[in-house]
Structure formats: structure tokens, C-alpha cells
Subunit: 318 residues, 2 copies
Amino acid sequence: MKAFVTGAAGFIGSHLADRLLALGHEVTGFDNFSTGLPAFLEEASKNERFRLVEADLLDFPELARAMAGAQYVFHLAANANVRFGPDHPRKDLEQNTIAASNVLEAMRVTGAKRIIFASTGSVYGEPHIFPTPEDAPFPVQTSLYAASKLAAEGLISAYCAAYEFQAWIFRFVSILGERYTHGHVFDFYKQLRAHPGRLEVLGDGHQRKSYLYVQDCINAILVAIDQASGPVSILNLGTDEYCEVNDSIRWIAESLELSPRISYSGGKRGWVGDSPFIFLDCRRMQLLGWKPEVTIRDGILRTLDFLRRNEWVLEKRC
Amino acid sequence: MKAFVTGAAGFIGSHLADRLLALGHEVTGFDNFSTGLPAFLEEASKNERFRLVEADLLDFPELARAMAGAQYVFHLAANANVRFGPDHPRKDLEQNTIAASNVLEAMRVTGAKRIIFASTGSVYGEPHIFPTPEDAPFPVQTSLYAASKLAAEGLISAYCAAYEFQAWIFRFVSILGERYTHGHVFDFYKQLRAHPGRLEVLGDGHQRKSYLYVQDCINAILVAIDQASGPVSILNLGTDEYCEVNDSIRWIAESLELSPRISYSGGKRGWVGDSPFIFLDCRRMQLLGWKPEVTIRDGILRTLDFLRRNEWVLEKRC
């Protein structure tokens, strides 16, 4: 296939690019390097079937030029920082919703008809059904991030109806693994490296979360493209388990052989829009023949291990 | 109250402005007159508690200036033309989603905290539950219009979480009545005036639709503001009945004393994104103490009567 990957220098995007190349596909990576890192594309860049375009999704002419000839568009680029949404309320709209509109319009112009989209389990807001299925009760949005992703989902579905596009929309839990350079593992490791004796935790530590290992995530995407043939496939992506933030802290501290004093900011939520319990029903995806291979604990430890081996990334993020 | 009404020269906006003025409130109307008509504000303009600002919601500085001092923001302005969405896919995004973001940002800047938003039953896509409740299964979007409205709903809810706004989001069926200058009654009357012997109908005529009379709609909005005190109140707004397009044709033809030959374009849907069956569960709104007073048939006939008495509006719309 001729694949076009937005956010190609990002966490999931770079792993996806590597995998698509390994499978023999042609890949055009598109990234503005606002958070993506050139080092993540080091391997890909050695491959003659890989091409990198450094540009912004809000630059429509450049986007449409870069996309020409693509058959499958993997739209992974996003402002993925849920927590700081209220500090800059336009950012999610611009980088997630308007950028998605540009991707869709570029597809319409270039004739690409298949889109794979990284949405989020956060679109369920604070659900009342666990594990939460894709057809859960129509939720109320609780974060600007999720609202902007839901808006993109809606646009994509509407394009499928209007222009006969085909879409695979994945509602992810948090994805973990090598090259993951934000989120709680990153935050905790960075804190413990600066002061091994204490750890500050947002919320009460009892937030229950699901995490999925990045290679399991990419396996799922590839299975779904192959097996789900409807015009709009909406698929939860997570594991059959969840953990408490406190579990994760224990695993990380054990692995680092530390016993930090933990102070909690308190409250059920770590920040506005943080969902105290994320646990998705992934049977739809599993019925297509996929299952995750890495546990939450191992995903966390692999992420930690990556950070220990690549401390330079700690300097790249605040 | 000090009210700010976007789309004040439009169908629902102008009726709302009239009502708020009649109740003794101060009203600032905001309209770019892209589809609004000055004649609809003739009465309001005579009232010293009314002020009109002619500007575009995409002009943020002008919007924020106009909104200063407002307590309640009634955001009714929209591109309301579902049918032609695929002809200009950016229009819904700009006029419905980005415009809503501007309204919310202007509220943040000016300190207004309460927003009333005209959403649509179309956000349910093609539901499987009738009448459709607000917490229906998470739907898939089928039109750019509904996708853009859903995006605005999400933004509004996220602002309530992030900045302690209070919102009343109404998911309307089609609203009918005096000053309604598009939709099927308008289309049929215009056709029959040009050629009384024949009528062209989109779809198979069996589409089942709900309609609500505009004064019933405004009654509901005012009851909800008074009675629903949660941070985000999402409320369906429709009648306990529905009709077929063919019923409406019969009522219109009888009223005009015509017997046109009817030709159907065929198919269950009149256009891409047309929902073959719209029937909303409005118990949430009714539990607040509201009920509609005008039947669908009477709403259609009042709309028709308005058009017969105001044929000049036929020239204003294609």
C-alpha cells in the first residue's frame, strides 16, 4: 500500500511507519516536529520506501501536495495533551479538529479514500458502563481534548456518508511503550530522577486506568484494516484489565528500587477532564481476530526501561 | 436578564428576541444577515431595550465587543442547510463549529457564563431507538451539518467542565412557523406557486419526521433555563407525534385546494444525511413542566399561511 502517516515522528506514528516499512509498504511521513522527534525516524529514514515531509497540517496546499498518490491515510497527529487543554482552549480545536478537516479535504482533493484515525476513549466522558462499549450511552464531553477528537470523529463519519470514504476510528486507552514521551510514567520517572525520595501524584492515586502497549495497538490497526470492511468501523482499543495509578507507582518504584514518600494532590481526578475510571470493552476488535500480548504492567515497565536507556528525551519535554 | 442572541435576524432568533423583549429583558442581537432578514427584526428594533450588531461570528474582536455585559448567550446562528453540506464541506465547520468556539471564547473574555445552544436531533444519525432519548447509543454521524453541531455540543460541554460555564443544549427536531424560510413547506409552496399541477418530492415520501412549532420551542427554552439547574442540560425538543412527508403534502395541498401530480426522486432518504425517521423522546423536557401546544399539522399550516401572506420571502431564497 501507499501509506500517508500524519504525526509520523511521534510516538505511535513512528512505530507505525517502521512497521509499515517492514511489511514492504511505501510510507510518506508528515510531521511539523512540534512534538515529534527526528530520532524516532532514524530507522525509517534509512529506507528508500520512506519519504518525510516536514510541514504543518494547517498548511493545506502543502498537505495536499504531500498526500498525492496515497491510498491509506493514517491520521495520528494531534495535540495529545489532555491535561493542559484549559490553558489554551483553541489548541485542541486547531490541531485536532481543524487539522482533521484539512486531512479529509486533502483526501477529497487527492482521491485518497481510506482513513485510519486515532481517537480516544476520553470521548466517553465519565461513563457509567464498564467496560465501556462503542455504543455506550451518548456521552457528555468533559475535556477540550476529547471534544476535539469527537468532533474529528464526526467529520470523518460525515465524509464517509457524503463522499464514500472508508474509515477506521480507534478509541484508544492510553498507549504505552518505547518512545512514549509524556504521560504518567514519563512524569513519575522524571520526578524520581530529580528527587528519588519523593513523588507528587495528581489525584488520589485511585484513578483506574487501562493502558495498551504500542505494538499491540499497531497490530490492532493492521488487523482492523484487513478485517473490518464497513464504511465506518469504530473500534475501542485497550486491554481486558485496568490498574490503579497506585499500582503503577508500585511497579515503577520496585523496578527503580526506590521507596519514595508519596504526596497526593487529592480528588478523584488528576485534572479537569481526567476520567477517574477508563476501561473499554474491546470485544468488537477482538472479534476481528486481535488480542493484546503485553500486560499493563509490562507495558509500563517497557516504557520505563526506554526512558532509562534514553534519558535525553527527558530534556525534550517539560 | 441581559441577553445576547446570535442569529437574531433568523427564524428562531427573531422570535426569541421578540419574546425576551416582551418579557422585559435587554437584548443584543448579533447577525451577519447572510440568511437573516431585517424585516424579522422590525418589531424588536422599535424597542429601546433592543440593540442590533451587524457582524460575523468569525470576527472575534467584534463579537467580544458586542457581547460585553451579557449574562445569557443564546447561540442560534448556524448554517442550517443540511442538504447542501457536501457541496461546501468547510461551511458547516466554519459557521457551526468554529463560530461556536468563538462564542465560547468571547464568553470567557467577557465573563458571560450561561449559554443556550440550538443543536439538532440529527446528531443521533440514524438511530435504532424510537422515540430517541438523549442518552441513546453513541451515534455515528451521517451529515456534515450534524457533525458540526455535535462538535459544538462537545466544545460547550468541555467549557462547562473547564471554566464552570452553565449550558442548555437543545436537540431540535425541525422547527416550523412564521418566518421559516427554508425546509419542505417552503420548498413545496414555492414549487406549487410556480406550477400548481405538479410537485417534485425528494425521497419516497415515506420519511417520517417530527416538527415543532416555533413558539413551543421558545417556551421550552425559557422553561429549561428556569428549571434545569445542572452544569450541562441536554434536552431533546420535539412533539409526541410524527408524520410522513406524504401527510404534510396532503395537508398543504388541501389547504391550497390543489391536487398536484407527485413525482418522487426515490430512496428512503431525500439527500445524503437525511434521516428517514426522526422522532425524539422529549420526556426530560416535559418533566421540567413544558409541553407543546401546537400539533405538527397546525405548525405546517401556520408556516404555509405565513408564506402566503409574505410571498416576498420566496424571492429571498433559492
